[in-house]
Each structure stands twice: as structure tokens, then as C-alpha cells.
């Protein structure tokens, strides 16, 4: 078993964090994982993506040519990575920003208004966690609580504990919608 997940979007949408929390959660549940970020001279803005591989044996390639799951937080990400999604794979699409998806392959499309849901929760920056909740549901490898624990650890390390509650809610909303 080896599953590749790509998170992609604008810089500042919490793309790298969502991937890291997923990797951390999978590791805590005994899986082998890799997390590979795109890295560039831009610190903010621009585009960002990261690839998480979850497997039951040591991961070979941390780059994934055919991801099973793509989280496309914006239009350009869908255009760039959509065609690469494995047949039967899943695209979790931020329908708050992409109204009419142009890319269609053999992948299933799961549109979720990530930004709108995060806005409802009062924290638009939690859109990434809505997406992550959906990813955990689609993966079906471990309970959502694993992701919530990994998130708590990550926010704790950054001294952002006060954001934990709203992000936890975001996880649950995404999980429920997938």
C-alpha cells in the first residue's frame, strides 16, 4: 500500500501545514510517511504545494507522479495537478474559488466550499483544515482524532493553541462533507 496525496494552492493558504499535519497523524498511527514541499525564493504569495506519501513499507520515491488524492485550493492547482491524478483517484476542490472546474480526467471530483465553511467558522485561514478533514475521510486509514492530535501538537509547537478549537471544528466539517 502506498498512497500519494498532493496539497496545492496559493502561498498563505496553509498548504504545507495541512500536509505536515497529515504526515504527522499517519506517522503516529504507525504508517511510513514522507512530506515533500515545493520550495522557492518566495516566502509569501506565489504558489505552494506539498506531497505526502503514506505507505505500509518504507517510502521510496517522495515524488508522486500519480496522486490518489489532490487537494486543489485554487484554480491553477487544479489545472496543474488535476490531469495527473490516478484513475479512480479523488480531487478535493475548493469550490469557493473554482466555480466551473475545467479539468476532467478519470478522477472523481469532490467540490467543497472550503473558504465559505472556514468563513462560517469565523477563521478563513482554517480552509486548509476543512480540506484535511475531507482527506482523512477519503483515505479511511485512521480516525479523524489522529489528525486533531497532530494538529494540536503542531499548533502547540508554534504557540498558536488558541486557534486549535476553530481548526478542530474545521476538520470535522470537512470530514462530514466528504
Amino acid at each position: 500500500m502506498e498512497i500519494g496525496v498532493i496539497f496545492a494552492g496559493f502561498g498563505g493558504q496553509g498548504i504545507l501545514l495541512a500536509g505536515k499535519v497529515l504526515a504527522q497523524a499517519a506517522m503516529e498511527r504507525g504508517f511510513e510517511v514522507t512530506w515533500l514541499p515545493s520550495y522557492g525564493p518566495e516566502m509569501r504569495g506565489g504558489t505552494a504545494n506539498c506531497t505526502v506519501v503514506i505507505a505500509d513499507e518504507p517510502v521510496g520515491s517522495p515524488i508522486v507522479d500519480r496522486p490518489q488524492i489532490l487537494v486543489a485550493m485554487n484554480g491553477p492547482s487544479l489545472e496543474r495537478f488535476g490531469p495527473r491524478v490516478a484513475p479512480g483517484g479523488m480531487i478535493i476542490l475548493n469550490s469557493s474559488l473554482v466555480k466551473e472546474p475545467s479539468v476532467q480526467g478519470n478522477a472523481r471530483l469532490l467540490p467543497i466550499p472550503l473558504n465559505d465553511i472556514a468563513q462560517e467558522l469565523g477563521e478563513v485561514r482554517a480552509a486548509n483544515m476543512v480540506a484535511l478533514g475531507a482527506v482523512v475521510k477519503v483515505l479511511g486509514l485512521f480516525p479523524l482524532e489522529a489528525a486533531a492530535e497532530a494538529l494540536a501538537k503542531e499548533l502547540g509547537a508554534r504557540g498558536r493553541e488558541k486557534l486549535l478549537e476553530v481548526n478542530r471544528q474545521a476538520l470535522w466539517r470537512g470530514f462530514a462533507l466528504a
Binding site: K20, A23, Q24, M27, E32, V33, T34, W35, L36, P37, Y39, G40, P41, P58, V59, G60, S61, P62, I63, D65, R66
Partner: protein
């Protein structure tokens, strides 16, 4: 307990656990996290973190700290390593132990910050001036990166030869679970009677790579090369994966090595008898084991993130015993397992 760490962070933590107490650096992408980690953590362990004015200064500070008998390290990425090459030659000439981490990026020139393996020649064949070698270790996972940093300190001290970790941007940036090695107790670091500690109750120690007399200098270098021969006998490291029945073996190191592991798995699923030979020590290079492999495997396909540098060592090892095709990418482009697999299929039939 496993922790999720970037390659850069794991190498920094491993250095601290290996007893590194002086770290000198100059910022460059993609090894920034190593610098940041050292800045945060090394002083807490009573160590010295110093951001130098240049790579040239940083490596010469390493020279000073190593001369004083302390475990010391610097890290950089390709263009910065070029600048350090002068100092590395002096370290080698003065028989000073030190660890240099190169998180390679694409070159020549400013190139870009994407992962590449174009510094193989520089690391294994010299790089700086003069007749010397570095111990060069190439990790392919974050776990291995941590372990090889620890090993690099030990080997460097044991042989008084500088050691280089040859990683790349992908390994530096990616996160993986790591079981961190136990810290080395200070008592286990061997004493260094040659170090500059003040000439009290003994004759003065001199750390130098200088001797104007060619005959005397020849003897110094003969002794140095005797040590290199000993390293070649004792410290060759490599990994073989699924080579027993292979008709084609991929030869790849570092990041390419792990990507090729995926290629082997996929090839095997399709019924292709493909294996992997992964050099871990690039110097000393595993010539003999590769030669043995070439006796029974008809094709050794070298895969590198370069135009073919390690490939030359592969051909030196094989000496015509097997076919030695090459597949490489340039400029920071990393080939996918699929692309490599289609290259494999040109040479082997199911």
C-alpha cells in the same frame, strides 16, 4: 520514539548528538533549516553557533576549531561549497577532522535551488587543489542522513580526514519519521594529542599543510595516502535491493537511490527482474561489490541527477563486464519513477 523531521533538521540534531560543539555557516538555500536549527539548539548544548561573513570565513573557522580539538561542522549548498573548497583542501592537508554537509542544488553557476547531484566529482575527486580525498557519505532517507552525520564525525576523528555528507535539496527539505541516534557521551570522543591546547608540559603542536621540501612533503603525503588506502579497505558502504535474480540493476545514490527503489518495486510488479545497487560511501566507492555484481548481471543502469558523474566510477568498477547505460536529468529536474521505468524497459524484457 520517532519524530517527524526535515532532512536538514535531522542532520543538525544528529551533529549535536555526535558532540559537534562548533558550527560555522553562511546562509544558502536549500539548507536554511539546518542553519536555523543550529542557531536555536547548539548554544543550549554549550556549543558555538557563528554566522560568518562568507563561506570562505566559515570553513576557516572550522579549520581553527578543528585545530583546537573540538568536533566541528559547517553546511552549505553547491555554490557555497565551491567557496569552501580552498579551506577543505587545507583541512585535508593539515589532517584536521571536520564534517561538511553539502545539500546539493543545480549548477553550474547560480543555477537554481532544485535538487541535483552535479557535485559528485567535486566531492569525490578533489574539488580543492592538491592530492587528497574526502570521506563522502550519501544518505537517501532522513533517518540515514542522521545516522551518517554521526558516522561522519566518528570516521573523521578516527582517520583525521574531513568527511562530507553529500545530500541534495530534496533530502534536505523533505520530512520523514526519524528515530534519532543516542547522543555520544563526551568520553567516547577520542583524545586528540595533536590539537592546539597550549604547549604546557609538552613540545609545541603545529597544525599545518606546509612543507617546502618536496621529499619531506612526499613522505607526509605517502602517510596520508596510506590512511586513504586503509579507509578504502574498511569503510566501503553500499546497499543492494532485489539484486539476487536481477537482469538489470539500477545504480543510484542519495535521493535518486530511493526513487529507484520505487522503480524496482513497480518493475517487479510487472514481472521485470530489476534490482538496485546504492552506494552509500561515494568515497571510498564500492568498486569491488559492484564488480562482483557485474559478473552476473548483464545491465547496470546508472541513474543520476547529473549528466553522468558517478557513472564514470561505475564504468571503472565494471570494466566492460556488463553493459553500463546511463539515464540522467539536468538542471534540478527530478525524473519520476514512471520515467525511469520506461528507460528500464528499453534494456530489459519481462
Amino acid at each position: 520514539m520517532k519524530v517527524l523531521l526535515r532532512g536538514n533538521e535531522a542532520m543538525a540534531e544528529a551533529a549535536i548528538r555526535a558532540g559537534c560543539r562548533c558550527y560555522f555557516c553562511y546562509p544558502i538555500t536549500p539548507q536554511g533549516e539546518l542553519v536555523e536549527y543550529m542557531a536555536r539548539h547548539l548554544p543550549r548544548h554549550g556549543g558555538v553557533f557563528l554566522q560568518a561573513e562568507s563561506e570562505v570565513a566559515a570553513i576557516n573557522m572550522v579549520y581553527g576549531a578543528a585545530a583546537a580539538g573540538v568536533r566541528t561542522m559547517t553546511s552549505s549548498s553547491s555554490p557555497g561549497i565551491s567557496l569552501k573548497m580552498e579551506g577543505i583542501s587545507y583541512l585535508a592537508g593539515a589532517r584536521l577532522p571536520a564534517v561538511i554537509v553539502n545539500v546539493m542544488r543545480a549548477g553550474p553557476g547560480l543555477g537554481n535551488i532544485a535538487p541535483a547531484q552535479g557535485d559528485y566529482f567535486q566531492a569525490t575527486k578533489g574539488g580543492g587543489h592538491g592530492d587528497y580525498r574526502l570521506i563522502v557519505l550519501a544518505p537517501s532517507t532522513v533517518q540515514e542522513a542522521a545516522e551518517l552525520v554521526m558516522l561522519a564525525f566518528d570516521l573523521s576523528d578516527r582517520y583525521r580526514v574531513p568527511a562530507m555528507i553529500l545530500a541534495d535539496g530534496m533530502l534536505g527539505q523533505m520530512m520523514e519519521p526519524v528515530e534519532l541516534p543516542e547522543p555520544i557521551p563526551p568520553g567516547r570522543i577520542p583524545p586528540k594529542p595533536w590539537a592546539l591546547t597550549g604547549a604546557k608540559d609538552r613540545a609545541p603542536n603545529v597544525v599545518s599543510s606546509f612543507d617546502l621540501d618536496p621529499y619531506r612533503f612526499r613522505e607526509i603525503l605517502r602517510a596520508l595516502w596510506a590512511v586513504y588506502r586503509e579507509i578504502e579497505r574498511n569503510e566501503v558502504r553500499w546497499e543492494e535491493y532485489a539484486t539476487e535474480d536481477a537482469e538489470l540493476v539500477l545504480v543510484a545514490y542519495g535521493t535518486m537511490g530511493r526513487i529507484c527503489r520505487t522503480v524496482v518495486r513497480r518493475a517487479r510488479k510487472e514481472g521485470l527482474r530489476v534490482g538496485l545497487f546504492r552506494p552509500i560511501s561515494l568515497w571510498p566507492f564500492p568498486y569491488a561489490p559492484l564488480r562482483r555484481l557485474a559478473e552476473r548481471v548483464p545491465v547496470l543502469l546508472t541513474v543520476e541527477l547529473s549528466a553522468g558523474q558517478m557513472w564514470e566510477d561505475v564504468r571503472l568498477a565494471v570494466e566492460g563486464r556488463a553493459k553500463t547505460p546511463f539515464y540522467g536529468e539536468l538542471g534540478g529536474v527530478v525524473p519520476t519513477p514512471e520515467e525511469i521505468l520506461s528507460e528500464v524497459k528499453k534494456h530489459v524484457r519481462g
